[in-house]
Structures are given as structure tokens and as C-alpha cells.
């Protein structure tokens, strides 16, 4: 038997600190939202030869479009970000650049992204509540040692932790690497939440089973035995989830890189929170019994 929960307090303190740092970073820096959420225009072009970004910046400045961000992208590509521009301004910019090949042009009002954000938050909150209730109900039948709502609480906290940590990572990436997130990030966050909850439930299910059998001395031993039994499965399953994700990260191209990156971190946090956070919470809440 592995004595994983020997340091349960330590895990919880580390996790608590991590969550607080993440939260602070998110409050100070926020998530690096792209124009889908902020509104504005974005043009991506591809030149035949290596473009001179400094010269482009100067040329664009002459058009008086306010603040324009000019960035290099893949190959000989350049991305320009401006306030919302109309078609004449759009054409003028392309002319100034010498009419290179236009890869994409987006002209977006922020309301769509905002609506998406609110709708996602509402949907997520409702599903978290319903999942909490579902767990409360299914774990009720065998809740004579650990109250059923403790399981719900542990699952939800583990899920919140995973999302918070991934968002924190992206706050840092946005600040220092200029990474931007769009609507696929919302899908990634939902995926992480789904995976995390599924994974935690499967771990806690083992705990429930061992409590039912009832041959162990105390809660700490029951939890440790359950974790020792399930940890191999947790590692194997997360490996199987990581295989396609890592393949996508390496070979999938730039457009899905950020997405795969978020999911990989989500899988790692999701798996570790099921093993370290949720059982530690159950233990600390029920230690005296």
C-alpha cells in the first residue's frame, strides 16, 4: 500500500497557494482575450519574402488608424491588429503593404464574444450544480462514514482547481509570450472540466467501494488503499489521453497548438487533482471520526 495521504495537509497548502496565485494573476493581468472577445480588426497576410516589420509599422503609422499592433507570424506572415476598420481602410492597409496574399481578415464586434462568455459561464455553473447533486445522490447509499456531500464538494473543488490553474498558465503566457485565446479556449476549458470530474469520480468510486467492504481500520487507510488500487489506472488513462494530444501539439500545426497545449495541462492537473486534492479533502474533513 502506498501512503499517498501522509502529506495530505501539505498537498492542500500547496494547492491552495497555487490557486490563490492563479487567481491573483487572473485579477491583475486577466486572460489574454483575442479580438473575438474584445472587438476590432485583424488582418493576416503572407509575403513572398521575409518582411521588414519595422518598415511596415512606419508605413502603417502614416495611415492614421490609431494604435496598430504589427506582429510576425508563421513563415513570412504578418498579423496586424487595429480598431474596427471599414472596407476602404482595409484596402488602404493592403495597398500600403504592397498587396500581399491575404490569409485572413476579421472584423468583429465584441458583443458576440461576450455573449459566448456569459452563456458558457451559465451553462458551466448549471452543469457543476447538477453534477454535484448527481454525486450527492449516487454516493448517498454508501455514505455512512463520509457524508455524501463531501464527495460532491471534493469533485467540484478539484474541477475548479484544474480550470483555475490552466487559466493562470494562460494569464502568464499572455503576459510574456503574447499568446492569445479565442473561442476554442472555452471548448478546452469545458473539456478539462469534463475530464477532471470524470476522473475524480472514478477515483472516489473506489473509495466508496472500499468503505462498503469495510475491512480497513480508519478513513486514512481506506483512502490510501483505494488510491494504491486506482493510481495505475489513473496514470495509464491519462497517458492514453495525452498520446493524441501530444501528437497534435507536435504535428497538428499552429492553429491547434494553443488548444492542445491547454488540454495537455488540463489532463495533467485533472489527473493529479483526483489523486492528491480530492482524497486529501475527504481525509481532512473526516479526520476525527
Amino acid at each position: 500500500m502506498l501512503n499517498i495521504l501522509k502529506y495530505s495537509k501539505f498537498y492542500l497548502i500547496i494547492v491552495g497557494i497555487g490557486m490563490i496565485i492563479s487567481l491573483i494573476l487572473l485579477i491583475i493581468w486577466g486572460l489574454p482575450l483575442n479580438i473575438e472577445f474584445k472587438g476590432g480588426s485583424q488582418i493576416e497576410v503572407q509575403f513572398d519574402n521575409e518582411p521588414d516589420v519595422e518598415k511596415i509599422k512606419e508605413d502603417i503609422k502614416k495611415l492614421n488608424l490609431g494604435e496598430v499592433v504589427v506582429q510576425k507570424s508563421e513563415g513570412n506572415g504578418v498579423i496586424l491588429k487595429t480598431k474596427r476598420i471599414d472596407e476602404t481602410e482595409h484596402k488602404k492597409i493592403l495597398e500600403t503593404l504592397g498587396n500581399p496574399k491575404e490569409i485572413s481578415f476579421e472584423n468583429i464586434i465584441p458583443t458576440i464574444g461576450k455573449e459566448l462568455k456569459t452563456k458558457t459561464i451559465i451553462a458551466t455553473l448549471i452543469s457543476v450544480i447538477l453534477i454535484g447533486l448527481y454525486i450527492f445522490n449516487t454516493f448517498k447509499k454508501s455514505s455512512f462514514i463520509i457524508p455524501s456531500f463531501h464527495y460532491s464538494f471534493a469533485v467540484v473543488i478539484a474541477g475548479i482547481h484544474d480550470i483555475l490553474m490552466v487559466c493562470g498558465i494562460f494569464a502568464i503566457l499572455g503576459k510574456f509570450c503574447g499568446t492569445e485565446i479565442g473561442s476554442p479556449f472555452i471548448a478546452a476549458i469545458l473539456t478539462i472540466l469534463g475530464y477532471s470530474i470524470n476522473d475524480t469520480i472514478i477515483v472516489l468510486d473506489r473509495v466508496r467501494e472500499n468503505i462498503k467492504i469495510g475491512s480497513h481500520e480508519d478513513i486514512e487507510e481506506t483512502l490510501n488503499v483505494s488510491l494504491s488500487q486506482i493510481i495505475v489506472r489513473s496514470i495509464f488513462t491519462s497517458l492514453c489521453v495525452l498520446f493524441p494530444l501530444v501528437a497534435i501539439l507536435i504535428w497538428g500545426g499552429e492553429s491547434v497548438f494553443t488548444f492542445a497545449f491547454a488540454l495537455i495541462w488540463g489532463t495533467i492537473f485533472g489527473t493529479s487533482s483526483s489523486i492528491f486534492i480530492a482524497p486529501s479533502l475527504l481525509l481532512e474533513m473526516n479526520k476525527r471520526k
Binding site: K119, A123, T191, G194, N198, V241
Partner: protein
């Protein structure tokens, strides 16, 4: 179930798997290898983010509608007209979708394969908005003036007041138009446009003329007053004329545009977005390649760790994957990046079902023969599998019904994937294992797991 039936079922599943695999091969790949591709095997429907194209969002202005009009119906009529126009552009599988609700309607248009948003906007927007308006009563006029007082200066009010007539919207708009053609006044050779209404439109027009005898009816195109003839008598039969100071060219264009489908409601472009075909094409090919590599790694891993059981699970996963892809083709489900994400997670969970069971099998086979150990392994992994998958299904259902667009696609693929993953993991893998455990292979305990 008797063994004979299990073998028959096994054969059936293998046959179906072969069929599904054949069915789920992408069209381009089939062409490359030279496999004949039957006509009835449709290609995958790819979303705009994978295929490239133009995506437009419009705001629908319903403020001009009379208060008692059914907004939903009017918006639907607008959608139909725009769809007609979009279809004329010759793009494959365009999407014209209504979003939003009361007083806040949006129209989303997706044009796969198109690369020039400005041209698209022009094509969609150039249709004139045709409206018939009627005179306001004196009370209504006073009401409007009163409302305007707070917004306008006194001078402006005085100016408007002098205009003898105020018009208000009626139900009759371009949506009831059957056709328009240019004709000439035989005396003056002045061109005019003759309109023919649909049956419904004819009735509305009849009513409108009946209650406005000796009053003016104003014809507006794109919010400009074109003419405001005085109604002499009620008109049945559904015909009307627009006379105005047109040149022949102008009249021709107006008639043509009206024919192409006058927009029953004004729309304003909110956003436009072009996704380049290079981005789409490479990301599809690359994601496909990456997905296949990832899948291969999973199979290798399963076989290394769980040996023969791992091999059976891999076949069961091939069944699950090809079945799912076939369903995507048949429904059809539009594949987008987020959809693929949902698909990946469901794949992870489908693998998990097998891993959970095999880990149980390792415990069970310590004191049992393989053929006997299989049943309790599945039975004991079920509660965990059930809870994990059901909670995911709850999330999918909520996301599907509450959100829109790509999140919905995510929920749909994940949900379908979870259901099929459960089916393949709990029933198909089980069937495979039962069948082979009953043969001599069942005696070699070591090949069933590490």
C-alpha cells in the same frame, strides 16, 4: 447467451467494423490510395474553421415592424430571402442561421470556400428593402411629434410639422412580393415598375387599400420614399405599380433586385471574418495525421500493457471510432475544431472504460480462471464507468441546450462519443473477450494481462 450466438455476433461486429471503416475513410484519402468511393458515401461536412471561407454576422433591424407583426415570422421570411440569394452565389453548403430573440435578432451567414467578404456583403446587402407605409392618424402624428420634442430642436420640429403626412409601417413588405417587372406608360413612355403580390400579399394589399381610400400609401425602397400615390379605390387581385422619376436603367435595376428577393427587413453588418483555405486545409490534414499517430500510440500502449486483452480493446476501439465517424457522416455532423476536441475527450474516456475493466481483471484473475474472471471484472468496473460517463452526459446535455454554435458542436460530438464509447467498452470488448476466453486461449492466463 449461448456460445454459438456469441460467435455469430462476433462475426457480425467484425463485418460491421469493416463496413464502418470503409465508410469513414475521408474522400481525399480514398482517392489517393485508389479505393473506389461509392456515390452514397457522403464526404465529411467540415465547419468553416477547417474548410476556410467567409463568415458574416448581421443585425436584423425589426424596429420598423408594425407592433402586432409576428417578429419570428418576419425574421424567418428574411432568412428565406437571404438563403435564396446565398444559393445564387454558388457556394457549397452555405449556412444561414437566425440567432437571438425578441427585438435582438441576428443573422449568421457562413460561405465555405469563399474568400472575398466584401463581395459577399455586397451580394447579400444590395437587395432593396421594399416597404409599403400608410398615413398616420392625427392622434398618432401628435404622439410622434410629442416624442420627438425631447430629441429635436424647436426649429426642426416646426419643419417636420409642416409636412402634411406622416407614414407608419404596415405588414406589407418585400416578403409578400411574387414578382416585379418594368413597364412603360403608353402615353409618356415613362418607365414604371409593376408589382405582383403573393396570395397572402394580395389580401394584405386589398385590406390596406380598403382602409386608406382617398389617402396616400407610401412606397419605400431602402427607407427612401419612392412614390406616395393616393388610393382611388380598393384594389384586389394583388397588383400595384411604383411610378417615380426613374431612368430606364434605374427602373430595370430596381425591378431586377426586387425580383431577386427584396429584403423584408433591413440588416446591418456587424462583423466579417475570412478564414484562409491554407489554414483550414493544412490544419485538417495535420490534425488527421496527428490523430492517427496518437491513436496508433494508444494501441501500442494497450497491447504492451494488457497484451491480448489490449489487442481486443484496440479492435473494439476501431469499431467505436469508425462507427462514430460514420454517424458524423450520416447525420451529418459538421466537424469543427471544437467538435474534434469533444471527439478526443470521448476517445480518452472510451479507452478508460477498457483500462478500468482490465485493471479489475488483473485482480480477479488472481484466484479465478480467465473465462470466469471476465464477468465480475466488467460488473465491478461498471459503477465507476457509469458515474463518470453519466456526469459527462449531463454536462453535454446542458451545453447542447443552453449554448449555441461551436459549443453545441462540442457537446454533440462528446455526447455521441461517450454513448458509443460506453457501448463499445462495456459490450463489444466484453463480447470479444467472452468469445476468445472460451477457446484454448482462455487457458493461458498470462496472455490476458501483464
Amino acid at each position: 447467451m449461448s456460445l454459438k450466438w456469441q460467435w455469430i455476433l462476433f462475426g457480425l461486429v467484425i463485418f460491421l467494423t469493416g463496413f464502418f471503416v470503409y465508410f469513414s475513410i475521408p474522400y481525399t484519402l480514398a482517392e489517393k490510395i485508389g479505393i473506389p468511393y461509392p456515390n452514397w458515401a457522403k464526404p465529411f461536412r467540415l465547419g468553416l474553421d477547417l474548410k476556410g471561407g467567409v463568415s458574416l454576422l448581421y443585425e436584423i433591424d425589426t424596429s420598423g415592424l408594425a407592433k402586432d407583426t409576428d417578429q419570428k415570422e418576419a425574421v424567418q421570411a428574411l432568412r428565406n430571402v437571404i438563403e435564396k440569394r446565398v444559393n445564387l452565389m454558388g457556394v457549397e453548403e452555405p449556412v444561414v442561421q437566425i440567432l437571438g430573440g425578441k427585438d435582438n435578432w441576428r443573422l449568421k451567414i457562413e460561405l465555405p470556400g469563399m474568400q472575398d467578404p466584401q463581395k459577399a456583403i455586397e451580394e447579400i446587402g444590395k437587395t432593396p428593402v421594399l416597404e409599403f407605409r400608410e398615413e398616420m392618424t392625427q392622434e398618432e402624428k401628435d404622439q410622434v411629434l410629442k416624442e420627438l420634442e425631447s430629441q429635436l430642436t424647436k426649429e426642426q420640429i416646426e419643419q417636420i410639422k409642416d409636412q402634411p403626412i406622416f407614414f407608419k409601417p404596415t405588414k406589407l413588405t418585400g416578403q409578400y412580393l411574387k414578382g416585379a417587372k418594368i413597364e412603360f406608360n403608353p402615353n409618356t413612355y415613362q418607365p414604371y415598375i409593376s408589382l405582383e403580390f403573393t396570395k397572402e400579399g394580395a389580401e394584405i394589399f386589398h385590406d390596406l387599400t380598403k382602409r386608406n381610400i382617398e389617402k396616400q400609401i407610401a412606397i419605400y425602397v431602402d427607407n427612401n420614399l419612392i412614390s406616395a400615390p393616393v388610393v382611388q379605390e380598393e384594389i384586389s387581385g394583388g397588383r400595384a405599380q411604383i411610378t417615380g422619376q426613374f431612368t430606364i436603367e434605374e427602373a430595370k435595376e430596381l425591378a431586377q433586385n426586387l425580383n431577386a428577393g427584396a429584403l423584408p427587413l433591413p440588416i446591418h453588418n456587424l462583423s466579417s471574418k475570412v478564414i484562409g483555405p491554407t489554414l483550414g486545409k493544412t490544419s485538417v490534414d495535420q490534425s488527421l495525421k496527428a490523430g492517427l499517430i496518437g491513436l496508433f500510440l494508444i494501441f501500442v500502449f494497450l497491447i504492451l500493457v494488457y497484451r491480448f486483452s489490449g489487442l481486443l480493446a484496440s479492435i473494439s476501439l476501431v469499431f467505436y471510432l469508425s462507427f462514430l465517424l460514420t454517424i458524423f457522416k450520416l447525420i451529418p455532423v459538421t466537424l469543427t475544431l471544437s467538435g474534434i476536441a469533444g471527439f478526443l475527450v470521448s476517445l480518452g474516456m472510451a479507452v478508460d472504460v477498457n483500462v478500468l475493466t482490465f485493471e479489475r481483471l488483473r485482480e480477479e484473475k488472481r484466484d479465478k480462471e480467465i473465462p470466469v474472471a471476465i464477468q465480475p471484472s466488467f460488473a465491478r468496473s461498471w459503477p465507476a464507468v457509469k458515474d463518470g460517463n453519466f456526469t459527462t452526459l449531463i454536462t453535454c446535455a446542458i451545453l447542447f441546450f443552453i449554448s449555441t454554435g461551436f459549443i453545441q458542436g462540442f457537446a454533440l460530438t462528446l455526447g455521441l462519443g461517450v454513448i458509443l464509447g460506453l457501448f463499445s467498452g462495456m459490450l463489444i470488448t466484453r463480447l470479444f473477450m467472452d468469445v476468445f476466453a472460451s477457446t484454448r486461449l482462455g487457458k493461458f492466463e498470462r496472455i490476458w494481462s501483464r
